[in-house]
């Protein structure tokens, strides 16, 4: 047999990249999205104003940016705020959000499920239950179908 059947490097080539009809998402400028303001959120948590912290941390979601660090930082911040709520206050927290806020919260919740840390899943599940009763299954469908997410 000839030499070129020995190597199997060709099996690692991603042929879809070379498909000329490949669907490419539209680029939307996301370079300026920095995620929620860390200082503002931290000060609100320290003051005990958890409702305010929730509103603040859901501002400026890093949806369009390609910078993974910004996304990770935003997720960590959201997790911090969600964990500092008392279980009985979670429902009120969800009620204070509008429809888009609930959708965004659900996106962060599922992002948090992707990388569980010690107590995060328990907290996220409580928030998930309340967000589900506010947003319905439609809210989860939007998390699944969103091309650009947090």
């Amino acid at each position: 047999m000839s030499k070129n059947t020995v190597s199997d490097r060709f099996r690692k080539v991603d042929v879809d990249e070379y498909d000329e009809n490949k669907f490419v998402d539209e680029e939307e400028g996301g370079e300026n999205q920095l995620g929620p303001d860390e200082a503002e959120v931290d000060s609100l948590i320290r003051q005990g104003n958890l409702m305010g912290a929730l509103q603040a941390v859901l501002k400026n979601p890093p949806i369009n940016t390609k910078n993974q660090n910004v996304k990770d930082r935003a997720e960590g911040l959201v997790l911090k705020v969600l964990s500092s709520f008392k279980s009985t206050d979670i429902e009120k927290g969800v009620q204070s959000l509008d429809k888009n806020g609930v959708d965004l919260l659900m996106k962060y919740i599922y992002k948090g499920f992707e990388r569980p840390s010690e107590n995060s899943s328990a907290v996220l599940l409580q928030w998930h239950e309340k967000a589900l009763s506010a947003g319905g299954v439609g809210c989860i469908v939007r998390v699944l179908t969103a091309r650009k997410t947090v």
Partner: protein
């Protein structure tokens, strides 16, 4: 409303004849069955066998009494009734993927087929050669076309696609018609021109529908939203996110009201307010039969709590008429301006006819404007 269970398999698609006495449907296989209404029964009178793949779209032209079908075998056939039998004529679509949906134009001199080849075939009959030919609309479609609807002017075509956009194209064929007059969507309409492209909704567009005047187009997409766009100097879009599972089909029943249905197995009403350019939820259109509320014994309650962690007894049975997703909705009487009856078919193999007047009187807060 009346429910008739035709089959155990899903009904892939259906179409009614002009006087609504016959329905053509595909029982999830390669054939088309035509049923005729006889009192309260439905009798199968014809079986149309020509496709080699599942039939994905059927449309019955009311005036010329021709049926067009398209399937996953990449073909479309136009059927004409000769005596007592339907005779097929093959239409060369020049596509290399499955055909997904087909619609006759209002004047019935053309039809459009949406396919997985990322293009729309607009077919018309060429007298000289005595066969159907087609023209393709390709740009800027980037994925499968799932649904189509014609504008009343016989030229504009709305198409919903898997590339998350709803677009209005011009399907003007100079061989069969005159130049169209200007519309709300624009005045220059060469073949293939994009008159409108949606932004703002994500998710595959499962269903699209023009209003009776053609000035509004509504679409339902897979991210559980419904949207309406109104043509004008700049198109005005209004969308509504819903808390339910995605909707698969949508139709206007008056100029301001839409009925949509989907994976939640019941039709839903939406109302469009053009002054505020806003879409709002009008109500659920299913009237569940009030089942007798049996009291639960303590033992049953404990068992439920043990097995399902809840004391609710409701979750097990679907209360809606359809027991599986509704995939298609069609207007029976009254047209899209003043619909009196509409019909839904679904994956449970059943067909339900809904009467708008009955629904209005049964649901207290329902207002169809």
């Amino acid at each position: 409303m009346s429910y008739h269970s035709f089959l155990l398999e899903p009904i892939s698609c259906h179409a009614w004849n002009k006087d609504r006495t016959q329905i053509a449907l595909c029982p999830n296989n390669h054939e088309v069955h035509i049923y005729k209404k006889d009192g309260s029964n439905w009798n199968k009178i014809h079986v149309l066998k020509e496709h080699n793949g599942q039939v994905t779209g059927i449309d019955w032209a009311p005036e010329s009494n021709r049926i067009v079908t398209c399937g996953t075998d990449r073909n479309a056939y136009v059927w004409t009734l000769k005596g007592d039998a339907w005779k097929p004529t093959l239409v060369i679509l020049r596509i290399n993927r499955a055909a997904r949906c087909v619609k006759w134009s209002p004047k019935e001199n053309k039809f459009a087929v949406g396919s997985g080849s990322r293009l729309i075939s607009v077919c018309y009959f060429e007298q000289d050669n005595d066969w159907w030919v087609c023209k393709h609309i390709k740009k800027p479609i980037r994925s499968t076309i799932l649904c189509l609807d014609w504008h009343p002017n016989n030229v504009l075509l709305a198409a919903g696609s898997c590339d998350f956009k709803c677009r209005i194209f011009s399907a003007y064929i100079k061989e069969v018609e005159e130049k169209p007059a200007p519309t709300a969507w624009g005045s220059k309409m060469p073949f293939g021109e994009v008159m409108f492209e949606s932004t703002g909704t994500a998710g595959w567009v499962h269903g699209v529908c023009f209003s009776d005047s053609g000035n509004r187009v509504a679409w339902a997409s897979h991210d559980s939203t419904v949207a309406v766009a109104e043509g004008g100097k700049t198109a005005v879009c209004a969308s509504l996110t819903s808390e339910t599972l995605p909707l698969l089909c949508v139709t206007f029943i008056t100029e301001n009201s839409l009925v949509a249905a989907g994976h939640d197995c019941y039709p839903v009403l939406f109302v469009y307010d053009s002054n505020k350019a806003a879409l709002s939820f009008g109500g659920k259109l299913d009237i569940p039969k009030q089942s007798a509320q049996k009291g639960m014994s303590a033992r049953e309650r404990f068992q439920n709590l043990d097995k399902k962690a809840t004391t609710d007894s409701k979750e097990a049975v679907l209360e809606s008429v359809h027991k599986n997703s509704i995939s298609q909705i069609s207007i029976l009487n009254g047209g899209k301006a003043q619909c009196a009856k509409f019909c839904t078919t679904g994956m449970d193999g059943g067909m339900t006819i809904w009467d708008v007047k009955t629904l209005e009187s049964a649901m207290k807060d329902l207002k169809i404007v």
